[in-house]
């Protein structure tokens, strides 16, 4: 098993909600990145979790920047560090709204320009910081404050959008699998160029499940096949262990959807849509891994 450093870069007693999995994600991201790191952060839950001036909950520099601007800000920062012959890690740490919606143009531009940075999208599938409004990453059928009847549209597939930029490394991860996440961040930071890691981060108040189930919820997402753990290294796909098992024998999707209040009363059609999308993605990834397409 990978040795995870004992050093902590995210201090205790932050203002995160109880059971916040995105804080776990950040904890392991920073352990993998180490002290020679700058976080660039658009408006997101972590803007609050970092604390209120003059305090900071993070033991690395954090540059807060406007919602749409994170990847572009990181472009400038990375260019300046490299011009100064510094190898400092530049990591964007952004939520799903800041990534798949308002930040997508800057993200696309930074990847097209081969910016040397790591972009981490922690995905709680809605605008969590502002009280759970829908985002482009909200899945079909999920109730948010702006989709009180359940979201009629499909979750935007940011991974395929990022993939179209042909980055040297991209991966998915989940807060419930910290070793997997740690390894992926470490690997990403060893590669020069634009890297992307998309991390599912279950959210107890937003998804409406008991706080103590936050790790279990992430595991269920993977075990039911609703979230696939994979890496794409120089275009080559590898499906990671837990998802490989789930592809052979997934748990019934109801085990993942059932405990979540946001899916209460979801229609059969919406469940079918979720399942069929997940199966289609899994199949595409399997075929890619086999080199069939």
């Amino acid at each position: 098993m990978t040795e995870i450093p004992k050093e902590e870069y995210l201090f205790k007693c932050t203002s995160a909600c109880a059971g916040c999995s995105s804080s776990l994600v950040l904890r392991y991201v920073l352990k993998a990145a180490g002290p020679d790191t700058v976080l660039v952060m658009p408006a997101c839950c972590t803007s609050v979790i970092q604390g209120i001036y003059p305090n900071t909950a993070m033991n690395v520099p954090v540059y807060n920047v406007a919602f749409a601007a994170a990847a572009a800000c990181a472009s400038g920062m990375s260019a300046a560090f490299r011009a100064a012959k510094k190898s400092t890690n530049v990591i964007v740490y952004a939520g799903d709204g800041g990534t798949v919606d308002i930040g997508i143009q800057a993200l696309s531009g930074a990847f097209e320009r081969r910016t040397d940075f790591l972009y981490i999208c922690y995905d709680n599938e809605a605008y969590g910081n502002t009280g759970m409004q829908r985002s482009g990453a909200t899945p079909t059928g999920a109730r948010t404050t702006t989709t009180p009847g359940g979201k009629p549209d499909t979750k935007k597939d940011i991974d395929r959008i990022v993939e179209a930029h042909d980055p040297p490394y991209m991966a998915t991860a989940c807060s419930a699998y910290p070793h997997d996440l740690f390894k992926k961040v470490t690997k990403a930071l060893s590669i020069r160029g634009p890297k992307f890691i998309h991390v599912l981060a279950p959210c107890p108040p937003g998804w409406r499940y008991p706080t103590e189930q936050t790790v279990e919820m992430g595991k269920l997402a993977v075990k039911t096949g609703m979230w696939v753990l994979f890496e794409r290294e120089y275009g080559k796909v590898t499906i990671n262990g837990p998802s490989r098992a789930a592809m052979i024998k997934p748990l019934p999707v109801e085990e993942y959807l059932g405990p979540q209040g946001r899916f209460k009363g979801i229609s059969r059609e919406a469940v079918d849509a979720l399942v069929s999308l997940a199966r289609r993605n899994a199949k595409r990834l399997s075929l890619e891994e086999e080199g069939v397409c």
Binding site: V38, S47, I52, V60, V62, C73, S75, R113
Partner: protein, 370 residues
Amino acid sequence: MLTIATGNKAVAAAVKQVSPEVIAAYPITPQTEIVEQIAEYVTNGELKSQYIPVESEHSAMAACIGASITGARTFTATSSHGLLYMHEMVNWAAGGRLPIVMANVNRALGPGWNIWAEHTDSMQERDTGWLQVYVSTVQEAYDTTLMAFRIAEHNDVLLPVMVNLDGFSLSHINQSLETVDLGDFIPPLRLPHAIDVKNPRGYGPLTGPEDYFKFRWDIERSMRDSVKVIESIENEFFRRFGRSYGFTDDYQCEDADVVVVSMGTLGKEAEVSIDLLRKEGIKAGSMRIRWLRPFPKLDLKGRDVVVIDRDYSFGYGGILAEAVRSTCRAEPYSVIAGLGGQEVTYDDIAGFIRGRRPGEESWFGVTPDV
């Protein structure tokens, strides 16, 4: 070295000599020549900057911000819609106390599409915490761009500076340009709050009502302090290179009974009008405002004042006229002229002065049938 250049090329020449570590820009008419020239310099090795060809102006300013906070010197250029598209980040740059220098080629706003000179674009960024200077000649564009870096980066300022030049009527006009040997006029930038991984800090986190206003006041304090810095950098520039400009460019104002106040190329045009009027026996003078922020103290006491605004605040009036009215307790004749590149000749300006109606407003060219 004496050469011929457009306003745009003069800005690019100054930037080349200053050699910022990072330049991020997005092309827009009539600023394109600046970024094309810089890209050329970078490609042929004359300029060692990291040049980031961003996908939007919002990202251009964001990239400058990200670079600047590491302590790198940065530059960008834009115009009109580009400036407004980056508006959010324009605020962020000033709030982050980042000494970014930006050339803005003044251009009207759509609709309808209009690529010609107007000042409403930069006027809409008036309250962002940027220092703003408006130039009128190719030489002044070059000299002011050089000085802008020194002023922005001064420890008593640490605010971004916007150098404004009129679209086409300056950006694309060829005039003589005397470039200078910079020597040590632009020393290395030492940003006191640059990111240091050995001393990790949070930049721009949540800031509550008990602290936020202190940061706003700090911007204002630096804006006030910048007056002395601008004076001292101008003096140094004069000592080294023999040219100076001041907060306002005054022409025959000493004994003037009537002063025309304007900005940009119209201010140069006005000087010809003054010569005309003086021949007619009218004691007129021209005061061209260079620094809009910080706004200078104007001495207009006891004279008639005509203000030409190449901008407008709908439902209120000419923006420069309002500044003159409120800071000088004057009752100017407010003329709105030159919008969207509308031709305004020195004869027209002489006409504004002859036919002045203190306290009133007039839109040049607007007749009852318009």
